[in-house]
């Protein structure tokens, strides 16, 4: 019996070497390993073996069965591997089915970045109308009638007293008219300026305004907030400086420059060789605004700031012509 087992083992080992396709493999399995295969037949005959030899023979048979199974599994894997190598059908260079690709306008992307920074600092969001009145757009934010500061913002009028807002500042008044401090909001929105259209100016643009009014708000904190903002948007290596300036609705007023994102401050054509580029206007809320909304100007102080979204986008992405934002050429949109 042991001889027979040894003989079968040799036969199995030599047979398995010759197998080359799944069909032969299956025949092998049926012949040797199946329920009625040659190994099973030997097991059936185990009862004929004398009880003293039975453990030895049983052990040999078990070993044979295990060995055959291992050899079979190995062969099966190698045949399957060969099969997928020979079945070349998959062309990896064929383009995948992609579907249409959408895109978010760069003005929106930039707004979302700005919003992300200020919402993270605890600012809420407020909005107001694009058709405004002279009172909210000018008078209440400290542009008296016949004041030269009105020349800073060329205006589209609907009637003598109704106009297209030239900035988002009127929403400061609308917010303060409707609630008491503390106020901490950012105000996004579309604004209009009656200027000749060029690469640098368009009649429509977008602003983000910020307003923080509470007890004990200082210019130092305005600086801190805006420096943090600039670093989050442009990276922590960016240089920031504040210059004195003039806006009717803030006193003291400031403009914030960052070191030129193109040349890093060494001076280039984009920054007019100055190394700095202006990104926003800011200042402490002028007490006249508090008076206009009925706040206690002694008790509360606050700061406000405003920036052009297209301007920030220009610095982030290098877009050199503001008209591209409004033309919506797909070759432009698909870059963002």
């Amino acid at each position: 019996m042991l001889d027979e087992i040894e003989q079968l083992k040799q036969q199995i080992l030599s047979d398995i070497e010759r197998l080359s396709d799944p069909h032969e493999l299956e025949n092998f399995r049926i012949r040797y390993l199946a329920r009625k295969g040659r190994i099973a037949q030997l097991f059936d005959r185990l009862k004929e073996v004398s009880p003293s030899e039975r453990p030895t023979v049983g052990k040999a048979l078990n070993e044979l069965r295990a060995l055959s199974q291992v050899k079979y599994d190995e062969k099966k894997r190698s045949i399957e591997a060969q099969k997928s190598e020979t079945e070349v059908a998959l062309d990896l260079t064929l383009p995948g089915r992609r579907g249409w690709v959408g895109s978010k306008h760069p003005v929106t992307q930039t707004w979302e970045q700005i919003r992300g920074v200020f919402v993270g600092m605890g600012f809420n969001i407020a909005t107001g109308p694009e058709i405004e009145d002279d009172y909210h757009n000018f008078e209440a934010v400290n542009f008296p009638p016949d004041h030269p500061a009105r020349d800073m913002q060329d205006t589209f009028f609907i009637t003598d007293k109704i106009l297209l807002r030239t900035h988002t500042t009127p929403v400061q008044i609308r917010v303060m008219e409707s609630q008491q401090p503390p106020i901490r909001v950012i105000i996004p929105g579309r604004c209009y300026r009656n200027e000749a259209v060029s690469a640098r100016a368009f009649c429509v643009f977008h602003q983000v305004e910020g307003l923080f009014v509470d007890v004990g708000v200082t210019f130092a904190e305005l600086k801190g907030t805006l420096v943090a903002f600039a670093r989050q948007i442009f990276g922590s290596d960016i240089g920031v400086r504040f210059r004195a300036s003039y806006f009717p609705f803030t006193e003291p007023s400031a403009e914030m420059d960052i070191s030129c994102t193109i040349c890093g401050g060494k001076g280039c054509r984009v920054c007019k060789f100055l190394g700095w580029t202006e990104i926003l206007g800011a200042g402490m809320v002028d007490p006249n605004l508090y008076r206009n909304v009925g706040y206690d100007e002694e008790k509360y102080t606050g700061y406000a700031f405003g920036m052009g979204i297209e301007r920030i986008a220009q610095l982030l992405y290098g877009v050199d012509d503001i008209r591209l934002y409004f033309e919506n050429d797909v070759r432009f949109l698909s870059q963002f």
């Binding site: 895109s103 259209v197 004195a244 003039y246 003291p252 007019k272 949109l333």
Partner: protein, 811 residues
């Protein structure tokens, strides 16, 4: 405002590198926009002498000149008619950059090379005023005075070895529109003293009041009028120093009298005007309003029509100047002028601004008056002017001034609390430092009872600072001079987080969905042609003063703007477009309507969609079909489903509007949200688009008002779903929705899903009929469903659909 560094240094002894000066001024609010070094600009330009002029052998209009530069003799070909031997002329050497090219329509600079001109070599160029950028005369070469030293660098000879700062002065700082004003700022910033020009004047014995009189009929708009009369003036070109000084800051020399008034304007900031005294009727000045419709010719030769609001300077019978804006041609200084009257007045900013706006004229004078001149400088300016006229034009200055100033404008007194400075700025600046800063700006603390620790100080504000009226204005001055860069950068002293959670934005949600479905976001101009804005049939809001007809009205719909974008992109080669925009649209209110902010105007935020071209991107498996209305409807359904979590019922019905044909209205919970449809062919034609365009417009304002279900989690079913397919044959005119409704009505609680998976018309079913095949899904939350239960429900559904719609079950 152009500031000459040489000129500035006459009043303040500032000796820092120019970069530092520019930077300090900029940080203090006087933004230096450019720094021009004139010496560098004229680096290869010299004074030279023309030795000989010979005709050019090959050209009638050209001459060949020998020119002595002091070092060598150059041969230069010149085309100017006025070139002559013995002249002193400005020449550009080979390698010089000539500021303006007179043959270039834009006058761009060019670099001079050695050239062969019609066969004759030319090693340089004799320049005209135009080419040097010093004037408009391009007819002939500039001829210099005979005593001009040969070989001297031109910049030095013309006094242009100077640096010019271009400063952007903000509208609140009229005092900085002069060299003295800038000097005052520089002195404060660098701790220096301002040296004011010394005024020395010799008056004659004749009394001014005997020769002229002044009457102000409108004291509100002209609070002060001062004047002097000067006899025996020689009007001629200004001496070189005066011309040079003006030229450096870009002001053209006219004649000595006018140049002196300009000089005083740029020195002290106060506008003056000189009249030809002998042409003043009645030797009188009357300040009054113009008559309505009165005609007047200004210095520039232009006729202007006046209104009864225009403040005029008149003589005894007629207007002679538009007050504070521009003088008249009738009393202009000319070569024959002998005697002059000099005006030094103060006009109210409001009056001058209105006149300047109405006439569309802005002059150096009007810019200063409308921002606020100094009412108390009129005499000093007048005397400075008289002094210079005497020195330069040799006049006899009459004794005394005429000065009509009945209601004196006194310096304001503003109180400042030292503590408030630090409360606003977040600093710890000492009272002493605050006082020092203010004093440096001539904002002098008034004498108060001495105290060891003063709490406040009273400041006298000079009348040249109309911008300072309140404590906060003084705090700004302290901050400016202290330096914004020296204020600490703090954060979070009062950091409070939003009182309510920032609500999720509906616009964001839509954007996210649509971009995921392959739409591109647009941002288009909300100003359009009126005819385009009218396409929607709405009442258009028009702009009173548009820049052009193309931007004269506000959009009433996003769709026309999106069609414009489609046209643009098709022109540029992209024909498959899936676009959306979120933005405001505007219209006038109809009877019975009221806008949210202004009764007459309605402004609402909408979402626009527009699609055209193929339904799927071109691939390698065959042609893609054209996008159609069911694609757009599907996108809208997914969008609304995502916003309203499928629980809110939307109803679609056909509607009409002027933009689309085959259009469908969308109603949610009884509110009309918007519509979608196919852009009408006439509209497509207008935008030159051939292929079909499908578009939709949904009101985000209405969508926001529809109550939205809060997301609350539902546990997942524990038991498996069972599905059954049923195909019904119905009349082809029966809407699929009715079949679906009949199924739903009879399906009971177990029926959870209905999906149409086939729609068929053709040979296998009777004519006039269609087959709609649905896959139904049944789920129970309590148990595994049995075949018997499902069969029973299915039979009930079939019976109901047959009965309700006369349908047949397809075998």
């Amino acid at each position: 405002m152009k500031v000459s560094l040489k000129w500035l240094k006459k009043y303040v002894d500032v000796n820092v590198p120019i970069e530092e000066l520019a930077s300090r001024l900029t940080l203090a609010g006087l933004e230096v926009e450019s720094v021009e070094n004139l010496g560098q600009k004229y680096e290869k330009f010299l004074v030279a002498e023309v030795l000989e002029v010979k005709s050019h052998p090959n050209a009638d209009k050209l001459a060949v000149c020998s020119v002595n530069t002091g070092k060598e003799t150059l041969s230069i070909v010149c085309g100017a008619p006025n070139v002559a031997p013995g002249q002193k002329v400005p020449i550009a050497l080979v390698g010089a950059t000539v500021p303006r090219d007179q043959h270039d329509p834009e006058g761009r600079p060019f670099t001079l090379g050695k050239a062969l001109i019609r066969g004759v070599e030319s090693s340089g160029m004799i320049c005209s005023e135009f080419e040097l950028g010093l004037g408009s005369d391009a007819q002939g070469i500039m001829v210099l005075d005979q005593d001009a030293p040969i070989g001297m660098p031109l910049a030095r000879y013309l006094g242009l070895d100077d640096v010019v700062l271009e400063i952007a002065v903000t509208p609140n700082r009229p005092d900085c529109l002069s060299h003295i004003g800038i000097a005052r700022e520089v002195a404060a910033l660098f701790g220096l003293k301002v040296k004011k020009p010394a005024i020395r004047l010799t008056e004659s014995s004749g009394r001014t009041v005997a020769w002229a009189s002044v009457e102000i009929l409108d004291l509100e708009n002209c609070p002060r009028y001062s004047a002097r009369v000067i006899h025996d003036v020689r009007v001629e070109p200004s001496p070189k120093w005066l011309q040079d000084q003006l030229r450096a800051v870009g002001v053209r020399a006219v004649n000595n009298v006018v140049d002196i008034t300009n000089f005083v304007l740029l020195e002290l900031g106060h506008p003056l005007h000189a009249f030809d005294y002998d042409r003043l009727e009645g030797k009188r000045i009357v300040v009054r309003k113009a008559k309505e419709g009165e005609h007047f010719v200004t210095l520039d030769g232009r006729g202007r029509s006046l209104t009864s609001e225009t403040l005029m300077i008149c003589d005894a019978v007629r207007p002679v100047a538009i007050a504070g804006v521009m003088g008249g041609a009738n009393t202009e200084i000319s070569d024959s002028t002998r005697n002059i009257l000099i005006e030094s007045a103060y006009f109210s900013p409001r009056s001058i601004r209105r006149t300047s706006k109405r006439l569309g004229v802005s002059t150096d004078a009007s810019q200063r008056f409308e921002r606020g001149a100094d009412p108390n400088i009129t005499i000093a300016a007048l005397n400075r002017c008289a002094q210079l006229v005497q020195e330069v034009c040799g006049g006899v200055v009459l004794k005394g001034v005429i000065d009509i100033y009945p209601n004196k404008i006194l310096p304001k007194k503003v109180s400042l609390r030292f503590s408030r400075v630090n409360e606003i700025l977040g600093t710890a600046i000492s009272p002493k430092k605050v006082s020092t800063i203010l004093t440096s700006l001539e904002l002098s603390p008034m004498k108060v009872a001495p105290s060891k620790s003063p709490k406040r100080v009273l400041i006298q504000v000079p009348t040249f600072r109309p911008d300072i009226e309140r404590e906060i204005d003084l705090i700004e001055e302290v901050a400016r001079i202290y330096g914004y860069e020296n204020i600490e950068t703090k954060m979070g002293t009062a950091l409070k987080f939003a009182s309510q959670p920032v609500p999720e934005s509906l616009g964001d949600r839509c954007r996210e969905m649509l971009i995921a479905r392959g739409y591109r976001e647009l941002v288009t101009n909300s100003l359009q042609k009126k005819s385009v804005a009218s396409l929607s049939g709405q009442e258009v809001v028009e702009v009173q003063n548009p820049t052009s007809e193309d931007m004269a009205a506000l959009r009433t719909s996003l769709i026309p703007g999106m069609l414009e974008v489609i046209r643009h992109n098709i022109y540029h080669g992209t024909e498959d477009l899936r676009l959306f925009e979120i933005g405001n649209i505007f219209r006038c209110a109809k009877a019975g309507e009221r806008g949210r902010y202004f009764p007459g105007y309605l402004e609402q935020e909408v979402l626009g969609l527009a699609v055209t071209g193929r339904a799927t991107p071109p691939g390698w498996e065959g042609k893609s079909r054209e996008i159609d209305i069911y694609d757009l409807k599907g996108d809208i359904e997914v969008l609304l489903g995502k916003i309203f979590l499928d629980k809110i019922k939307s109803i679609y019905y056909s509607t009409t509007n002027t933009l689309t044909e085959l259009s469908v209205a969308i109603e949610i919970n009884g509110s009309c949200v918007g519509f979608f449809g196919k852009i009408s062919s006439s509209l497509r034609k207008l935008f030159d688009i051939e292929r079909d365009v499908l578009a939709a417009e949904l009101s985000l304002d209405v969508l926001r008002s529809v109550p939205r279900r809060k997301i609350t989690f539902e546990s997942l079913p524990k038991y498996p779903p069972v599905s059954r397919d049923l195909a019904f044959v119905v009349d082809e005119r029966t809407p699929v929705g009715e079949v679906e409704k009949a199924i739903r009505d009879s399906g009971g609680d177990l029926l959870k899903g209905i999906q149409l998976f086939d729609l068929y018309k053709g040979d296998q079913i009777p004519a006039g009929k269609k087959s709609c095949a649905f896959s139904l899904e049944f789920i129970s939350l309590q148990r595994t469903l049995t075949d018997e239960e499902i069969d029973k429900t299915t039979r009930r559904i079939v019976e109901h659909v047959k009965r309700a719609l006369g349908a047949e079950l397809r075998g």
